[in-house]
Amino acid sequence: MSITTKPESDSDSQALIDVNDLSKLYETNQSIISRLFGEKEYLRAVDNVSFEIQQGEIVGLAGQSGCGKSTLGELLVQLQEPSSGEIIIDGDDITEYSSSELKTFRRKCQVIFQDPYEAINPRFTVSRIVSEPLKIHSIGDRQERTERTIKALNDAGLSPAEEYLGSFPRELSGGERQRVNIARAIVLEPDFLIADEPVSMLDVSVRTGILKLFEKFKEEMEMSILYVSHDLSTINYLCDRTMIMYLGKVVEVGKTRNVIHYPSHPYTKTLLQSVPDTQKQTDITEESVQGEVPDPIDLPPGCRYASWCSYADEKCERDEPLLQQRDDGEEASDQVACHYPIENNAV
């Protein structure tokens, strides 16, 4: 087990969210045969993760599929019980909340789920979906709730909102659904929003509008947003700071500009090179990764990235690198978990 030093925020203000050594283990499902002939196994979906998010900040969280991004997001709103670690929001450890405290907490913290097709109840009308959180928290009377619902829909970019109130999700396009989804999340005017891959399922022509909404929320409502995505180009567009995850670990964190333009971790670099870009054209000759991602159930002892990494040596295979402040160079004021961070070489 590794000890993680907590990355220090470069901001002086009091952090809104403070996560310390958070882990989540899943018991793996096995078939009856393997149960008969084997042992119980665990999957480390989130492994000893620590970070902070400031008021009014958009933090990007990137990494390949299955690295634990969604799990981390769900931990932050207690949709999953952490296996260990603490999550301090506004000075309280939310992992110790009672169910009534949790309910109060949930007014302040909302999630936009990964898949807009799945995240809204197909049997509810738009107005019902959006006003449901108000009802749950007994906010306002019917009239007032409708007003707020309409406002939230308008804020989410669905206008004229009245036209949509009576529709069912399946009568909406993907972009419209995602907006309903967003409206539901912001109708309580939360302080903190987790946006889990909010645009990955959408057509390019509607993505942009959604991204712009987040900017607006940040600016107009001082909302803190954890923006989860595996798509670095949207993160580049939107986020103040960015965290890169690999197999349950945070491997690099820092100002977006630094992370994307001056990556320190080899993995970040690979990620960046893989982003398809209309400008990049057919020059895909850059070195690309080879080999296999290690099995998250059966992790190697050293650096998890070593098997992919072109710079890896025995040390990498033996010792697990800790997340550390980088000290060299002004541009790379971020933290990285690598024995041999890349020197200042912009992509």
Binding site: E118, R123, I136, T146
Partner: protein, 305 residues
């Protein structure tokens, strides 16, 4: 304010219109399935017959009818006097047949509805809470599964005596298990769906999540299974009637068939043997086709292919 008020009425109108459209669409779609439409007609016809039995039946179903000379007419084939003939006790088969529909439908609807309620609740609780609750409830279901239906029905009706109500209770006792399983497995997957997580993230209570968010999504499957249960209930009732544990206070189709069997009418009184058997078969098939009709409306997968 007025502006908003206008908006509201407009919204409500939209909501109403969509509901109306959807209902209309569903009805149309159901009726455009010819078998489902016929099935519905059969079930409604039987329902009509059951409700208005006293007005439709020419005789008391249990009366031993004697003619003016005090002569009984036993095992008479259909005649103008007795359109469907008489049975061995000089009872009017048409009247028995009409009254007999009551028990079948009563058994079907009551057990169907009760099974829907119980099965859904158990399934929801089990699938939603998972863990120990699930383990315990599913063990109970397993145990129920391990006990065969007809023998258990027999024991239960022996235990409580044979009456329509006891038959229904026994039926419910047996049939809720499948519903519970089906609902549970759906709930298991539904409760992992992001929209349920979203409700949770909004602070909804467990009860609210189960009944407001999850249950409506189960409606189709509950209906389909419920209608299936209704068919099964009719058959089970006929089965235990056949074994002589049928209802005593009301004549049922199952009891009619049992009488044809015990009295040996099978070899010669076709007018007595055929109607109840055919009616049971047709009604049960009708329930199945109705469930398929419902399935077709509610399962988008089936709509295009």
């Amino acid at each position: 304010m007025t502006l908003l008020g206008d908006a509201l009425t407009k919204n409500q109108r939209i909501v109403l219109e969509t509901y109306k459209e959807r209902t209309q669409w569903a009805v149309q779609r159901f009726l455009s399935n010819r078998m489902a439409a016929i099935a519905l007609l059969i079930v409604l016809g039987t329902l009509f017959m059951a409700i208005f039995a006293p007005f439709l039946a020419p005789y008391e179903p249990q009366a031993n009818i004697a003619d003016a000379q005090g002569e009984y007419s036993m095992l008479e084939p259909p005649s103008s006097e007795h359109i469907m003939g008489t049975n061995h006790h000089s009872q009017d088969i048409l009247s028995q047949w009409i009254y007999g529909s009551r028990v079948s439908l009563l058994v079907a609807f009551l057990s169907g509805i009760a099974v829907m309620l119980i099965g859904t609740t158990v399934g929801l609780v089990s699938g939603y809470y998972k863990g120990t609750v699930d383990l315990v409830l599913m063990r109970v279901v397993d145990i129920l599964y391990a006990i065969p239906a007809i023998p258990l029905l027999l024991v239960v009706s022996l235990l409580f005596g044979s009456s329509v109500w006891n038959v229904i209770i026994a039926m419910i006792l047996i049939l809720w298990r499948t519903m519970a399983r089906v609902v549970r497995s759906q709930t298991l997957s539904l409760s992992e769906r992001p929209f349920v997580k979203a409700a949770k993230a909004s602070g909804a209570s467990d009860l609210r999540i189960m009944y407001v968010h999850i249950a409506p999504n189960l409606l189709p499957i509950i209906l389909i299974e419920g209608v299936f249960v209704m068919g099964a209930a009719i058959l089970l009732e006929a089965g235990i009637s056949f074994l002589g544990l049928g209802t005593t206070e009301m004549i049922s189709w199952g009891v009619m068939l049992q009488l044809t069997y015990t009295s040996g009418a099978i070899t010669h009184a076709w007018w007595w043997v055929l109607p109840p058997g055919i009616s049971i078969t047709v009604l049960v098939v009708a329930f199945f086709y109705m469930s398929r009709g419902i399935e077709e409306i509610t399962n988008p997968e089936l709509q295009h292919r």
